[in-house]
Symmetry: C2
Subunit: 205 residues, 2 copies
Amino acid sequence: MARVPQKRRVKTRAKLVAAAGTIVAREGYAALRVEDVVRDAGVAKGTFFSHFEDKDSLLAQLIGEEMHVLLAEAADSPMPHTIDALCSTLEPLYEYMAQDRFVFDIIMRYSGAAGIEDETEIAINFFRQVALLTRWLDNMADVRRDVGTVLLAEGVHAFAINAMSLKFCALHNANSIRDRLRPYIHAWLAPGSSQRDHQTDADQQ
Amino acid sequence: MARVPQKRRVKTRAKLVAAAGTIVAREGYAALRVEDVVRDAGVAKGTFFSHFEDKDSLLAQLIGEEMHVLLAEAADSPMPHTIDALCSTLEPLYEYMAQDRFVFDIIMRYSGAAGIEDETEIAINFFRQVALLTRWLDNMADVRRDVGTVLLAEGVHAFAINAMSLKFCALHNANSIRDRLRPYIHAWLAPGSSQRDHQTDADQQ
DNA sequence: TTATAAAACTGACCGCGGTCAATTATTTTT
DNA sequence: AAAAATAATTGACCGCGGTCAGTTTTATAA
């Protein structure tokens, strides 16, 4: 299984990805049409579906690659030593993920790894993200130690997803993702340190 | 604006909802086809789209109504006084929400209130859920008091969403949603009480 | 009651994602 | 080098969500 593809196939796939990338750069993810991609790539429609499971699968790959770049930039940044710095370092990634409903929905849909096989790039990035967070938390003072850092990292991720999804809620989209996230992360990572100088959504209502 | 609808319109809408409900009960949400609904309801296709924004909008309403029932049952249950009881009481709702990818995706997509106008039933249920959780937490001993209960309730919700989405991940779907959720909720609501008797996903990695 | 306006419904039509039997290109075997 | 086997590509076709100019029904005005 997993035969080596012929080079014609590799070139065809590259043409498809390139054509799709151009369209996305020009018109955005939501505007991508399979018929446009195959026209620009100069191949038949059926070819597209022999390379990709479906349209969203290609989009998931493009989005996953962009997430990978942003995550790598966060990993290359100076390691954050405070909770606020942690939130700030991940902000570009989060803003990209929540740039619009369409992209966020695809990320959500492909974030679960179907299995050891056919893991999407998006799912892999989620694991990378938790691993990175775990490393940061291991090296961070003023973080609770009553539970493991992996659990803490996964929790940060859960709060981040929540903050992103609230962006699309009219009642909460006044603040930035980072500002919505901060109070939760403080309460999660450093309980009892009563970080109450910023007003939260919860306080307002 | 918001004129009173003629009774013919009310009856037509009821026929559409009834037909859709029958199909869903028989074949599931994912199998619903607009053409089947209008055939069974005895109306034209265009009529469907004068009553509902699109197909998913109808599905969101059906799903939202079911969520409302399950949430009401949770609210009518004896008020939970422990963290484990809290997780157990909400379990039926969570299991319904995460019954399959298709349903969970729709819930995620419609969970953000677009604005004060046109709030979906699903979005309203999310607010109800946080309100219910807040009430429970207000009456619960052994819960941290360094942050507000609304923030705590929203955090529980964030962890619940995370636990549900992990159901579709091959690496985590061995446990029930409740078992995946418990360690996070304990660490969130009662930090420092080192509830380590159960093995978590994080421990296993 | 009859004319007029507004609401509700109709169904032919379109766009686009996805399929698959048939065809062409490439590799392997003899 | 020719034949056989496998990989890659093709494009006509289908299913289904969604549209909209035109028709019918209902409410309102004269």
